[in-house]
C-alpha cells in the first residue's frame, strides 16, 4: 500500500514536470521555426536592408521594415501616453482609497475588460473613434491617434493589475510613518507610496507596452495600414504585427520569408521589453 502510494506520487510529479517543460518546449519550437523561416532572408537580403530599409514590396524584392518598426514604437508610446495615467490613477485609487465594496465591484470589471476579444475593440474603434477623428480633426481617421486610443484602453487591465499589486506590496508601516509625521493622505501617496512602488509600476508600463506591441487584430482595423512612416498623429500607419497578419494569407516564397523576418524582429523587441520588465521587478524584490 505504502509502496503504490509512493509510485503514484512519483508518477504525478513526473507528469507535472512534463507539463512544466512542455511550455518551454513550445517556446523553443516557436523560436526555431520563426528563426528557421526568417533568418535565411536576412542572410540573402542583408540585415541592414531589412531592418533599416524603407521600401516594403516583398513581391518585387524589397523587404524594408524600418517604417513598421518606427510605427510600432509610435503607437506603443501613444497607447502608454493615453493609458498609463488612467491606469495608474485607477490602481492608486483601488489600492489607497477604495473601500472593500468598491474593490469587489471594480476588480471583476477590470478582469472583464481584459477578457474582451481584441476584435471587439477594433470594431468599436472603426465604428466610433475613426469617424470621430475624421470629422473633427481631419485625415482619413485611420491613424496613430485612433490606434493609440484603442490600444490605450486595451492595456489598462495589464497596467492596473500589476501596479495595484506593487502598490499593495508597499508595507503599511511606510504609510503609518508618513501619516504620523503629519503628512496628508495625498502627500503620503505622492511622496512615499508611489516612489516605493516605482519599480513595479515601471514594470507594469513595460508589460503594457509588450501587450500593445503584440496586439494585431484591433490595430489592423483602425490603423489604415499604409506603409509610410507617419508624420502626424492623423496619418495612417502599419505595425509589425499587422504586416504579418495582413499579408500572410496570400504570401508565398520570399514574401512569406519576409513576413517571418518581421516576426523575428518582433520577437526580439518583445524579448527586450520582457527582459527590461523582469529586471525592474527583480530590482524591486532585491531593494
Amino acid at each position: 500500500m505504502v509502496k503504490t502510494f509512493f509510485s503514484r506520487e512519483q508518477a504525478i510529479k513526473l507528469l507535472l514536470l512534463l507539463a512544466a517543460f512542455s511550455s518551454l518546449l513550445f517556446l523553443f519550437v516557436i523560436f526555431i521555426f520563426i528563426l528557421g523561416e526568417g533568418l535565411p532572408l536576412f542572410y540573402r537580403v542583408g540585415l541592414g536592408n531589412i531592418i533599416l530599409g524603407f521600401k516594403w514590396a516583398p513581391t518585387k524584392g524589397s523587404f524594408g521594415i524600418f517604417p513598421m518598426i518606427v510605427s510600432s514604437y509610435m503607437v506603443t508610446l501613444g497607447a502608454l501616453l493615453f493609458g498609463a495615467p488612467l491606469a495608474l490613477g485607477c490602481a492608486t485609487y483601488l489600492a489607497e482609497y477604495a473601500g472593500r465594496k468598491t474593490k469587489i465591484f471594480l476588480k471583476p470589471a477590470l478582469e472583464l475588460l481584459a477578457g474582451i476579444p481584441s476584435v471587439v475593440y477594433g470594431f468599436l474603434g472603426v465604428i466610433y473613434i475613426v469617424p470621430l477623428i475624421r470629422e473633427h480633426l481631419g485625415g482619413p481617421g485611420f491613424s496613430i491617434l485612433a490606434t493609440s486610443v484603442v490600444l490605450g484602453i486595451m492595456i489598462l487591465p495589464t497596467i492596473i493589475s500589476i501596479s495595484f499589486d506593487s502598490l499593495m506590496s508597499v508595507p503599511v508601516t511606510y504609510r503609518e510613518a508618513s501619516v504620523a509625521m503629519g503628512a496628508t493622505k495625498w502627500q503620503t501617496i505622492q511622496k512615499v507610496v508611489l516612489p516605493a512602488a516605482r519599480s513595479g509600476i515601471l514594470a507594469s508600463f513595460i508589460l503594457g507596452m509588450g501587450r500593445a506591441v503584440g496586439e494585431t487584430m484591433a490595430v489592423i482595423m483602425v490603423a489604415g495600414n499604409a506603409l509610410k512612416i507617419p508624420l502626424s498623429v492623423l496619418d495612417p500607419l502599419r505595425t509589425l504585427t499587422s504586416n504579418i497578419a495582413l499579408e500572410l494569407a496570400y504570401a508565398a516564397g520570399d514574401h512569406r520569408s519576409g513576413l517571418f523576418s518581421t516576426g523575428v524582429v518582433l520577437l526580439i523587441i518583445i524579448m527586450i521589453l520582457n527582459f527590461v520588465a523582469n529586471f525592474w521587478v527583480k530590482r524591486r524584490v532585491a531593494g
Binding site: 506603409l227 502599419r238 496570400y250
Partner: protein, 273 residues
C-alpha cells in the same frame, strides 16, 4: 484525493478518445460522398460557393468544399494536389504554367467612392496618379479641397495583382495609400469615409458605394463584353492535369449554360453564352 484525481484523469482520457473517435467518424462519413475541394482567391470564393450549392442540388452524391486563402495559395494548393481545383483571380506566372487554366468568367475591377461624392468620372491615368501619389487632393479631380483617402489591397492579393497589371503598369503604389485586406473591408472603408476611393471586384459592388465611370465607360457586363471597359481580369480554375470524375463534372457544370447564368446574375461576365 488521489483516487479523485485518477478518476478525473480517466474522464479526461475518455473525452479525448471520444473526441478523436468522432473525428474519425466524421472522416469516414464524408468519404461516402465524392468530395472535391476548391481553394484560392477570395474574389472567386463566394461565386464558387454559389456554384457548388447549385451543383450539389443536382448531384446529391457529390460534396464540393470551397475554401479561401488567396490566389497564390490556390495555385500552391493545386500544384501540390492538396485540392482538386485551385482558384485564381490573376493570370499565372511562367513557373506556374504547368497547371491547366480554365477561365470560368471575367470580372471587372471597379473604382468606387462614397455615394455622397459628386465626382462621376475619372480617367485611367488619373486612377494611376492617385495610386502612385501624384494626385492627392479631390480639388485636382474637380471637387473640394480635401485630401483623397485612397485605399488599396495588401501585397499578394489577386485583386491588387490585377489592378497593378491593368492600371499601374510598371509604377509602384505609393506608401501613403491605406491598405485593407479584403474586398469587403475596402468597400466598408469607402462606404463610411466620404473622401475615400478604392477598387473592388465588380461583383462586390452594391448600393453602399458608387462606381466611377472610367473615361466615360461604366463597368457593366455589356461594356466588358464589347471590350470597352478595360479593367478586366479572368477568374480561373486551375487543375493539375486534365480534370476527371467529380472534378470534371463540377467544371462542366460551371461552364454549362446554367452555371454561366448563375455567374451572370452575380454581376460577372460569362465566358460563353
Amino acid at each position: 484525493m488521489n483516487g479523485k484525481l485518477a478518476t478525473r484523469l480517466a474522464l479526461l482520457l475518455l473525452i479525448v478518445i471520444v473526441f478523436l473517435g468522432s473525428l474519425g467518424l466524421h472522416r469516414s462519413g464524408a468519404s461516402r460522398k465524392d468530395t472535391i475541394t476548391l481553394a484560392g482567391s477570395t474574389s472567386v470564393m463566394p461565386f464558387s460557393e454559389k456554384l457548388a450549392e447549385y451543383f450539389m442540388v443536382g448531384n446529391p452524391k457529390c460534396a464540393v468544399d470551397v475554401q479561401g486563402g488567396g490566389s497564390s495559395a490556390g495555385v500552391q494548393a493545386a500544384m501540390n494536389k492538396t485540392v482538386q481545383i485551385g482558384m485564381s483571380s490573376r493570370k499565372l506566372r511562367d513557373d506556374e504554367k504547368i497547371l491547366k487554366e480554365i477561365p470560368i468568367c471575367y470580372d471587372g475591377i471597379s473604382i468606387i467612392v462614397h455615394p455622397g461624392n459628386p465626382v462621376r468620372n475619372i480617367t485611367e491615368d488619373q486612377v494611376r496618379q492617385i495610386y502612385n501619389g501624384e494626385i492627392r487632393n479631390w480639388k485636382q479631380l474637380g471637387w473640394i479641397d480635401r485630401a483623397i483617402d485612397a485605399v488599396t489591397r495588401e501585397e499578394g492579393s489577386g485583386t491588387r495583382g490585377a489592378f497593378e497589371e491593368l492600371v499601374m503598369k510598371k509604377e509602384y503604389i505609393d506608401d501613403r495609400i491605406m491598405v485593407q485586406d479584403s474586398n469587403g473591408s475596402v468597400k466598408e472603408v469607402v462606404a463610411t469615409d466620404p473622401y475615400a476611393i478604392g477598387y473592388v471586384s465588380l461583383g462586390m459592388v452594391d448600393a453602399k458605394v458608387k462606381t466611377l465611370t472610367i473615361g466615360g465607360v461604366a463597368p457593366t457586363v455589356t461594356n466588358i463584353r464589347q471590350n470597352r471597359y478595360h479593367m478586366v481580369r479572368p477568374f480561373l480554375y486551375l487543375t493539375l492535369g486534365d480534370p476527371q470524375g467529380t472534378t470534371k463534372a463540377f467544371i462542366d457544370f460551371v461552364l454549362s449554360r446554367d452555371g454561366q447564368n448563375i455567374l451572370r446574375r452575380e454581376g460577372l461576365v460569362p465566358v460563353r453564352g
